[in-house]
Amino acid sequence: MQATATYRPAWNARKFFQRLLQYSVLVTVVILVFVPIVILVFGALKTRGELMSSPYTPPIPPRWENLISILTTPRYSFWPMLWNSVMVMVATTTGVVVICSLAAFIFSRMDFRFKNWVFQLFTLGLMFPINIAILPVYFVLRQLNLLDNLWGVIIVQTAFQLSGNILILRGFFAAIPAELQDAAYIDGCTAFDFFWRILLPLAKPALAAVAALTMIMSWNDLLVPLVVINNDKLWPLPLGTMQFQGQYGQDLALVSAFVLLSALPTIIFYLFAERQIVSGLTAGAVKG
């Protein structure tokens, strides 16, 4: 730095202003991103009266009553909804990781006659996302008697995650050198041994990325439960949050508290698993 400055004195000042401009734009966007979140947190930490009289001031002192009331009032059924969401998420994520790694292994490492056809069928799924397919899927669930059943949600979420995640895992699996496979076969491994003992352990980061992405997708999903689940005892958290807003919308402080509590698990998970989420998303979109 210093050496550069001695023979190009203008450089530092220019660089300084450039940085200043850079940071002021970025910080403005940071503030814009935080506005809705901060307003929500402020609302959740005020009493109803405080929120009416001074809606935008920081909540000093913070009132924890709304949060406690959400967590302790059985009528609001926060915990059962959380539990439903956890069960759906765990089942969907397990299903997606297992089913997709099996299929991705075949597509990346084995050969058979109609391989390209079968693979192209799966890539076609990318053009038919659940938002478009929801009505047709509803008919099938009704025929199979899977309405008002968490398994219905799990199966549909899993089925619509197949295409994207098989693509991601296939990319990762294909990047593992072929020499490794030859060596394993020479050492007497079957194809299954190679998959189970060599490929999967090497692909752990990819599996973690797929798992993290699927967890977020499943946890946040509203559309599938909205269509499949009627019984309020089976509502997962996003559906419950929407219904809570509909029912208690007048008490903005209480609704804010519910929304905040329902957002909290995602935020915590994001801060811990950011690397996996980011690598999964960029692998899916950039590498294909």
């Binding site: 991103v33 478009i132 009505l135 008919f139 089925a159 194809a191 949050t241």
Partner: protein, 316 residues
């Protein structure tokens, strides 16, 4: 892998070693693909085919579909003013995304750059809205867009600056802009992330060389960075268009497609006919239209991008 036990295994020959290798491999291919193929055929492919069938009937969803109407549903949809509004809104959201959201994401990705101190912080913050669920994002925006300046923060700011408070979600002329703002808030971070990754893959030496050759920052950006980023941009455009065509949750929670259908999208239109009015044949036909639109766009995309990135699987 220890080589010694492996060799002794080989010499002993497992019982399965008697089966021809080819048969073992085929069995494994079959079993490994079975769950994915069954799920996919039953819950993705079969529903499409079935809804093609139902779309030819006037069917309320109870009993078998018997009232065959041929292509009437498809014709009536195109005659419905509300569907045309939904189609227009979809195209408008696409246009706004491509003209506002993507350039903004690209600008932010360039500003964050390769080595700005605080890079990780900015990325984490900008990407946060994408991770939050659409329900939560939509409710937060519902709150801050409240028409009463004492409840909605956006109007409070406008009043403080001396303007008139607006009924953002109640005014047919403003509702789509308001929803688009919320969509941009939620999704720009994803595109920024794609661009950041794309930028990272451009060797800094190339830009350095441009600078040495006397290109200024803007020339460097437009003649070097942007062309090298083109495959990322294409991916981003593809994802953005497909996403815009099927927008549902945010719109449904913020405005239910109203007021007077001003913010209707094709997905809210389909949901209304399918799950609110139970005109399932008609709703199926809407789903087919949406599917065809996505398919046509994807085929055009594949045609114009020689080396497709997002769908690289399609070339085999």
């Amino acid at each position: 892998m220890q080589s010694l036990p492996a060799i002794s295994n080989l010499l002993k020959l497992k019982p399965s070693a008697g089966l021809p290798r080819r048969f073992q491999d085929n069995l494994m291919i079959f079993l490994f693909l079975l769950p994915a193929v069954v799920l996919f055929l039953l819950f993705v492919v079969y529903p499409i085919l079935q809804s093609v069938y139902y779309s030819l009937f006037n069917w309320k969803g109870f009993g078998p579909a018997v009232d065959f109407v041929g292509l009437d549903n498809f014709k009536n949809i195109l005659k419905d003013r509300v569907f045309l509004i939904a189609l227009r809104n979809g195209l408008l959201i696409i246009a706004l995304s491509l003209l506002v959201q993507l350039p903004l994401s690209l600008l932010l990705a360039v500003l964050v750059g390769r080595d700005l101190p605080g890079r990780v912080f900015f990325r984490t913050v900008f990407f946060l809205p994408y991770v939050l669920s659409e329900v939560i994002a939509a409710l937060m925006w519902l709150f801050i867009l409240n028409p009463d300046p004492d409840r909605g923060f956006v109007n409070a700011v406008i009043v403080a600056l001396g303007g008139q408070p607006q009924a953002w979600l109640g005014n047919p002329n403003l509702v789509l802009i308001a929803i688009f703002a919320a969509l941009t808030w939620k999704y720009f971070g994803y595109h920024m992330l794609l661009f950041m990754t794309g930028l990272q893959n451009i060797p800094s030496e190339i830009e350095e060389a441009g600078r040495v050759d006397g290109a200024n920052a803007l020339q460097n950006f437009f003649y070097i960075t942007l062309p090298l980023l083109s495959s990322t941009i294409r991916t981003s455009v593809y994802i953005s268009v497909l996403g815009s065509l099927q927008q549902f949750i945010m719109v449904w929670i913020m405005s239910k497609g109203g007021p007077v259908n001003a913010s209707e999208t094709m997905a809210t239109y389909m949901y209304r006919f399918g799950f609110v009015r139970f005109q399932l044949g008609y709703g199926s036909a809407v789903a087919i239209y949406m599917f065809l639109l996505c398919l046509i766009f994807s085929l055009i995309y594949l045609h114009f991008t020689r080396k497709p990135d997002y769908l690289s699987g399609l070339e085999g």
